[in-house]
Amino acid sequence: MAAPVLEVTNLTVAIAGGGDRANAIENVSLTVMPGEIVCVVGESGSGKSVTSQAVMALLPKGQLRISGGSIKLEGDELTTKSQPAMRAVRGKRAAMVFQEPMTALNPVERCGDQIAEVLEIHTDLDAKARRARVLDVMRSVHLPDPEQMAEAYPHQLSGGQRQRVMIAMALVLDPALLIADEPTTALDVTTQAQILKLIREMQVRRNTGVLFITHDFGVVSEIADRVVVMQRGRIVEQGTKAEILAAPREAYTQMLIAAVPSLVPPVRVPITSQVTLETIKLNKTYGGRSFFKPSGRVVKAATDVSFQIRRGETLGIVGESGSGKSTVARCIARLVDPTSGRIDLDDVDIARMSERKLRPYRRRVQIVFQDPYRSLNPRRSVGQSIIEGPMNFGLPHGEAIERARNLMGLVGLSPDALDRFPHQFSGGQRQRIAIARALAMEPVLLIGDEPVSALDVSVQAQVLQLLDSVRKKFDLAVLFITHDLRVAAQICDRIAVMQRGVVVETGPTANVFANPQHDYTRALFSAAPGQGFGHRIGAGKIDLVPAV
């Protein structure tokens, strides 16, 4: 057996000044062999990124420091190295790819120069030789037209291209170890598939050891050789991919895996109740010229969008970023004014209504937003946030409070928590509160705009179940916006697939998944990582646990 590329033993990183806990990671031990991809998987705050930063000696100064353990790169101890000595390691023997390729690349420097910089630092090559090497490595990561790309600035490239530049930069000196910190999280699913393939390809070709940080079990099942599961700074379990995914030993791992929704939709009975919402040729364009802004470019965010949602039905809109799915949701909630088309809510067109006339209809459409940390006013108690709407429509304070208490119970929180402020709740709890706030208005249509995207996978499942149960209980029409096909598969009765502002395909969820018609839909589905992996929501393993 070859020597490991990376050997981390009993690594502990202390948090300066304490905080919730004394150490960011404790007693972490793992190894990466040459040509092996080790996935470190965990929810937010599990310490997986800290581990990778510690290896590169890039821990934020003054906040985190290594307090124990050892890190050996090809047998060479790193924890005792000085910063200048570490500089010789970084970029040459160990390289890193970050999550967000837009911010990880210097925005004011040409891509080629940024790759060449690595060569400048670590080699004696002259400018010409550097240039040749840069074009070479760019070609090897399948960047089209490397000569032109080398001259481009990061913002002129797409997200996937930028990540390829990052990978080229990391691999240009053939490091023994590549650390990839959530390298595909910020990418669309189709791009993600390509990048994963690229990493796999490069790693095989160069026999690089890869430490791959991710929170997505789909990605794990796609790429990992071995898996390390972390929770709250400790390693819970590690083993081969097959061991961990198929037969997890630890309860935490089991829970995590069970919470991943399946890509196979359950069978659903078609719903034929009355139509609550119908959009007809809805259009929204942004920009355009005006006196003060003569340079406006016109962006068509939504074009001729038409669909129906019936009572008790969940319609999912899926699509990648920029597809216009959120724009449609915001038009229907009248947070933006549609450019043309109809929005019929129970047969009344609200598309062009003035704010004054619209007011009585406002309560009938409610929306739950993506970011739980921003969807509640941090300065107002949860109770105040929930009763604000009903009181706007004349409900007396006492009754509004009563209603809020009932709803808190319904969403699985203690009614006594009404006096607390948002910061005292976790992300999942806040989304429950946001749902309660929406329900307090007694809406007929509930819009979820990526309501679970920001949540850890375990919490996500609970919130999805809650949404599904309130739909049933109140016979709500639900418009569910998501980029996550797994979620869409599990919760939607019907789905509409959007691409560049246009609905390219609509139909019952099972049909669309089983037999996609449009090319784009097919591409989208085939790109989803870990096809065979995942579970059905509500398959019985997780219950709604009142969390307060």
Binding site: M56, L58, G62, P84, M86, R87, A88, V89, R90, G91, K92, A95, M96, F98, E100, T103, A104, L105, N106, P107, V108, E109, E117, V118, I121, H122, Y153, H155, M166, M169, F292, P294, S295
Partner: protein
């Protein structure tokens, strides 16, 4: 780019219009009467009225405004009520000292402040950082004239290294010209060094926490190059903004500095014109400064696009 410049120049029209209306109304609605001042100590009421007529001050305000506006559009700034000179002549007489002083100040301030700010950001929290920040707060807090008098006291009066007051025109020789500007420049630049150093530090600190700085370090880049190649250029936009703002704010300091050092510049012209109720001069000078402000903003925007390829017009 050309189209952008033209568009931006067009966009200054409403701004300048607001300035023009505001300044015009401000002067016309105040109780002061230039005619009475011009008429002099022993003038009779008829004489005053006569002068009012001649100056066109008896016309309705709207008419006055349009007469003035249409003249401005034709490039005619009018004639001073007091000096027997056209406003354009007066301004062109006074522009050189102000321009020299401003230029020297900005140059000095940038050359001193940016390295200070970078140093403070690099040594964030250290004694150096504290000293730079301390100096910067002091720079804001001590009035310009107190700085001016202190410098004169030490360097002109006691040490006799520099002249106390006055200004030499550049065509009388670059040596005396620069020599006479040393103390005024030092006086005026304190506050700008404070301003720019502080902004440089803040901007650098922010940039230093950016991902691409981490990337640069992950490449094994040495710290100095991380600072200057990656961080400073990205931090430059707010720094340039504050320099632009500084140039625009400079005029306030210029007024005081010119008074302290008896420099015959635009700042003192303005104060004199205001005291003399010389409407055409006040209007023209304020309009001109506002236009300069707008132009500097435009220039700053153009510099942005040089510094940051993401900004394209």
């Amino acid at each position: 780019m050309i189209a952008f410049i033209i568009r931006r120049l067009l966009a200054t029209i409403p701004v300048m219009l607001v300035v023009a209306i505001f300044v015009f109304l401000m002067l016309r609605l105040t109780p002061s009467d230039p005619a009475a001042i011009i008429a002099g100590d022993n003038a009779t009421a008829e004489q005053v009225a006569d002068i009012r007529n001649k100056l066109g001050l008896n016309e309705p305000i709207v008419t006055q405004f349009f007469i003035w506006g249409s003249k401005i559009l034709r490039g005619d700034l009018g004639e001073s009520f007091f000096f027997k000179k056209t406003v354009a002549e007066l301004i062109s007489d006074r522009i050189e000292p102000t321009l020299s002083l401003s230029l020297f100040t900005i140059l000095l301030a940038v050359m001193v402040a940016v390295p200070l700010g970078v140093l403070a950001a690099k040594r964030h929290g250290s004694i150096v950082d504290r000293m730079v920040m301390g100096f910067s707060v002091m720079g804001f807090s001590v009035p310009v004239f107190v700085i001016g008098y202190s410098l004169i006291y030490v360097f002109a009066s006691e040490l006799r290294w520099f002249p106390t007051t006055g200004y030499r025109r550049i065509h009388d020789g670059a040596g005396p010209w620069a020599y006479y500007l040393v103390l005024p420049t030092l006086t005026l630049s304190v506050v700008y060094i404070a301003l720019i150093a502080r902004m440089t530090r803040t901007s650098m600190l922010e940039v230093l926490s950016e991902d691409y700085v981490r990337t640069a370090r992950a490449k094994g880049q040495i710290e100095r190059k991380v600072l200057f190649r990656h961080a400073l250029r990205n931090a430059a936009v707010p720094i340039v903004t504050v320099i632009g703002l500084g140039i625009a704010l400079l005029i306030g300091g210029v007024v005081v500095t010119e008074s302290v050092y008896s420099i015959p510049g635009l700042g003192r012209l303005t104060v004199e014109a205001v005291l003399a109720r010389d409407f055409p001069v006040i209007q023209a000078v304020i309009l001109m400064f506002s236009f300069v402000y707008v132009l500097i903003n435009l220039l700053v925007d153009l510099v942005y696009s040089l510094l940051d390829p993401r900004i394209r017009y």
